[in-house]
């Protein structure tokens, strides 16, 4: 035996125990190279820097909690903006590096690094601001927002503010090379399988035909039912991106967040099809709370950008086969995004898509077509 492939997903049913979750999830954030990847995404780090340093008035003399501080950078920003006290909570051993970074930047009198999960730690006081960089692919992957909401409910003083305060997820119809590429990789894989069956019969007199269907299904899941990290160029867009869900993080409940996200919306086609993929991404806004709004609103967007993607890129969902439509048509999308039973930090997306409008394609699209993808 030899397990070359990295293991991503447990086969366990239901919610993983804490130890498994720690092994599979938190561990990545224990490496400095990974922190560096995030820090040097200047659209990301710069947005947080602006959100904090251009709103010093909101931070002056305040108590701040940084959920999942990692290297400690957001806690340091908050301290530099004049916070009286910053609690910087980090589950992994990166906490040690955060503590060293705080010390070497002479902010130990303000920033206190606490190693632990937000669910297990306690704080001696309520906080005025919770800052956190919790966003995963397609906003929701990693389910780390759960911990921010737990922190809000446990530690945020009435009227306190979340940074960021709002979020939205978008989908856009695009033209992508990805689908052709993945389709031909899938076909190559199945040709390789046919040769493999012959070899096994020839060398060992064993007939593996009965595995062809499960293999095809496994490979199809991998090549065509898994979304991909992409750096999408705006010219690939065949119509504007539509925000299909908007969250106010001050009022969103943990129960709402954990339930499957259901949405029905239209994607307007500026150009004609074939639409061979949907492109998903998110924005977050720093607006403070109603009682403590920011002076300067900051927005972090992760959409298609000619200057290149953030480290989140976009998630591209292949449509196989592609959807034909004309300029002026609309795609009606009935979407469901749910957490995976085998790993609550990963997602499964289902979409039923039909064409509406005056084109011949809309007439032919009587029954919605069903798609599904895993976000790995």
């Amino acid at each position: 035996m030899s397990a070359k492939a990295a293991v991503k997903v447990s086969e366990l049913d239901g919610e993983a125990p804490e130890s498994t979750d720690f092994a599979n999830y938190f561990c990545t954030y224990g490496y400095i190279y990974h922190q560096k990847d995030m820090l040097e995404d200047h659209k990301r780090t710069g947005a947080y820097y602006q959100a904090v340093l251009s709103n010093k008035r909101q931070f002056q003399g305040k108590v701040v909690l940084d959920v999942g501080t990692g290297s400690g950078i957001l806690a340091i920003f908050a301290a530099k903006a004049g916070a009286r006290k910053v609690y910087a909570v980090e589950a992994t051993n990166m906490a040690k590096n955060a503590r060293a970074l705080v010390e070497s930047n002479n902010l130990s009198h303000v920033v206190e690094v606490i190693q632990g999960t937000i669910e297990s730690i306690s704080l001696p006081e309520k906080v005025d601001i919770i800052i956190s960089e919790w966003m995963g692919y397609f906003l929701l992957r990693e389910s780390m927002l759960d911990s921010v909401l737990v922190a809000r409910d446990r530690f945020l003083a009435p009227g306190g503010a979340l940074y960021p305060s709002h979020a939205a997820i978008y989908l856009a119809p695009i033209r992508s090379n990805l689908v052709n590429q993945r389709t031909s990789e899938f076909q190559n894989s199945m040709e390789g399988w046919a040769e493999f069956l012959q070899e096994m019969r020839h060398y060992y007199q064993v007939n593996l035909d009965c595995l062809s269907d499960p293999y095809r299904s496994e490979q199809k899941d991998y090549y065509l039912h898994t979304s991909q990290w992409t750096d999408t160029h705006p010219q690939q867009l065949l119509g504007p991106a539509t925000p299909f869900i908007k969250y106010d993080l001050h009022t969103l409940t943990l129960e709402e967040l954990k339930a499957p996200l259901k949405a029905e919306f239209l994607l307007h086609m500026t150009d004609g099809g074939p639409v061979d993929a949907l492109c998903g991404f998110f924005d977050v806004w720093f607006r403070g709370s109603q009682q403590a709004p920011t002076d300067n609103e900051v927005r972090l967007t992760t959409g298609p950008d000619p200057t290149g993607a953030t480290h989140w890129g976009q998630q591209t969902f292949p449509l196989h086969p592609a959807i034909d439509c004309a300029p002026g048509d609309q795609l009606r999308v009935v979407l469901e995004v749910s957490r995976r039973a085998d790993n609550q930090r990963l997602l499964h997306v289902k979409a039923a898509v039909s064409v509406e409008g005056s084109s011949i394609y809309a007439e032919q699209s009587k029954t919605p077509r069903n798609f599904h993808w895993n976000i790995e």
Copy 2:
């Protein structure tokens, strides 16, 4: 946040709970594409085929246990060789495919697929033969031999045979491009870090100097203290491979296997140095037991081969800096291979190496040099 990197290792101390182990280890074997990778390694599958089918006399009318049957292939070989009954045990959902394969090859009357771990299942009778393909990189990675020994102690009848029955691990001094390559990758990484520090100071007025040492150490571990999968050509050998440990699987105890492996041995230099890497690999032999020896001994070797490596390849351990020595010299190696505290299925290797002989290098090598590597 965005956890791009696949997570392999838990940060948990000590032995991982069963659920974590399942998530991190067994899961890979639940994919048919991974089974295919192993099956189409014909040096591997062919060796087992020969070991069973060229020793039909040993299998005729016998009861066989296949530990970790995967696709079921070894159980099918045993049935084809005339076994009366084969228990094929598999922990993952691959068990379903194994069952289908057994049925479609009309061997359901002989092979019974049991889904479960060898530690948790029970069998209605003792078995005459245990067959298993349990070998990981450098033989011991994955620690799956543990389960085979548990199976032996629980289920093997007195005098019964293990297939394979013997194993050995080798090291050889080689010349490798890998070390130069990894060294320059490490240097590039540190240059990137220096630029990163400047950016962080410039954009955000934060000084990350204090993370330079831990980053250097993290990157050095990754680039220079981690062994690599390689397909080593025999012409890279600077001297013969030395087997530094030989196991008789019929007598090896679980306690011996779990304890750190300590060995001291000489590597003879046919050619001169610099030796910039050690190449590690293993052989296994199918000899049956003393009471039930095979008619035809089969040997599976995973050493450097001009026709290409098995799927195990070899593990290359970089020596940085390289060791100078002359033809005729010997490298004295004091070796320790132990299981990792953070993941019992992964390994840590320590070596103290000195040069002996009549060359000037031997004279200069008064103190052994110390190396260490993780096998990921």
